[in-house]
């Protein structure tokens, strides 16, 4: 498997498995956190803005 002899070797990363995978875990967490907050903020905005718009339209008529 690439540079490593086996998948187990890859997971072990010599004696540095813990450090490498902990770093990549933090990387993934932050990437996902950024992506998810963007989507949630967008949905929340549209939900509130739509409601507000509808309320104003019923008040107008």
């Amino acid at each position: 498997m690439g540079y490593f002899a086996s998948f187990a070797d890859f997971l072990q990363m010599g004696k540095h498995g813990l450090y490498v995978w902990l770093s990549y875990g933090i990387f993934l967490t932050i990437i996902i956190y950024n992506s998810v907050t963007v989507i949630i903020n967008k949905r929340l905005f549209f939900k509130n803005a739509k409601r507000q718009l509808r309320r104003e339209q019923t008040n107008d008529s």
């Binding site: 690439g2 540079y3 990363m13 540095h16 450090y19 490498v20 770093s23 905005f45 803005a49």
Partner: protein, 249 residues
């Protein structure tokens, strides 16, 4: 003398134009980001050879260096956007500056955390009060300061101005981070990429690193655009075009 810029330059400042064009660009940018990250990560984690001194812990470089570069680039972007907003009173510039701050803060956390984890097997300590590490920590605090300041004002215009000024003042920190490894005796190794020289590592190590740096830039562009789109609508929700967008969502 009156300087005349091309039409697209003025359009950059238009919220509606930004909203339209970013909506078209975003799907492509997402594809490019995902591709770059997948290629960069597999290459760096699976195929790059290990370092003769640091062993496999050096693979942390593929996220540490890009996140450190990005944390600084994002800060400069935020400060420049803030300045543009201050000088020319452009709404879009303030929106970009405001949306860049939380992204930059999270990327600074990534650089600091992966650096600490890399430091443990390499230097034997999670943290040392060395010039590079300290100036990066200050960068993180500057981001936090900008976020706090911009949310401390009731009035949006004052919030934008105050945070732009703070971001500009904090810009001094950027050259300090860059030259910290040269001005002071430090544990931290010097820059991997220099404009004038070839990297000191073999190409099968630095090419995936370059791909990851590009991937991080694209990621920043994606998240910044997506955030700025919502923020733009939020601020422009009284405009007719924004009402149409909201109704049709």
């Amino acid at each position: 003398m009156k300087v005349k810029f091309p039409r697209w330059f003025y359009q950059l400042a238009s919220p509606k134009w930004f909203y339209d064009i970013s909506g078209k660009l975003l799907p492509w940018l997402i594809v490019v980001t995902v591709l770059l990250m997948i290629v960069g990560l597999t290459w760096g984690l699976v195929f790059a050879p290990e370092d003769y001194q640091q062993g496999n812990s050096f693979r942390i470089i593929y996220i540490h260096v890009p996140s450190a570069i990005l944390a600084q680039s994002c800060y400069m972007l935020m400060a420049v956007a803030g300045a543009v907003g201050l000088i020319w009173k452009i709404k879009m510039a303030h929106i970009i500056a405001k949306c860049a701050a939380p992204i930059g803060a999270s990327i600074a956390v990534m650089a600091l955390a992966t650096g600490a984890i890399w430091g443990k097997p390499t230097w034997g300590a999670w943290w040392v009060w060395d010039a590079r590490l300290t100036s990066m920590l200050i960068l993180f605090f500057l981001y936090v300061g900008v976020i706090a300041l911009s949310s401390a004002f009731e009035n949006k215009a004052s919030a934008d101005k105050a945070s732009a000024v703070l971001a500009l003042v904090g810009l001094v920190n950027i050259p300090i981070i860059k030259y910290s490894v040269e001005w002071w005796n430090t544990l931290h190794q010097p820059a991997t990429f220099k404009v004038t020289e070839k990297p000191a590592m073999p190409s099968e190590m630095w090419i995936p690193l370059l791909i990851m740096v590009l991937g991080f830039y694209c990621f920043l562009a994606v998240i910044l655009m997506a955030r700025a789109r919502t923020e733009t609508l939020q601020r422009e929700k009284r405009a007719d075009w924004a009402k149409t967008v909201i109704e049709n969502y």
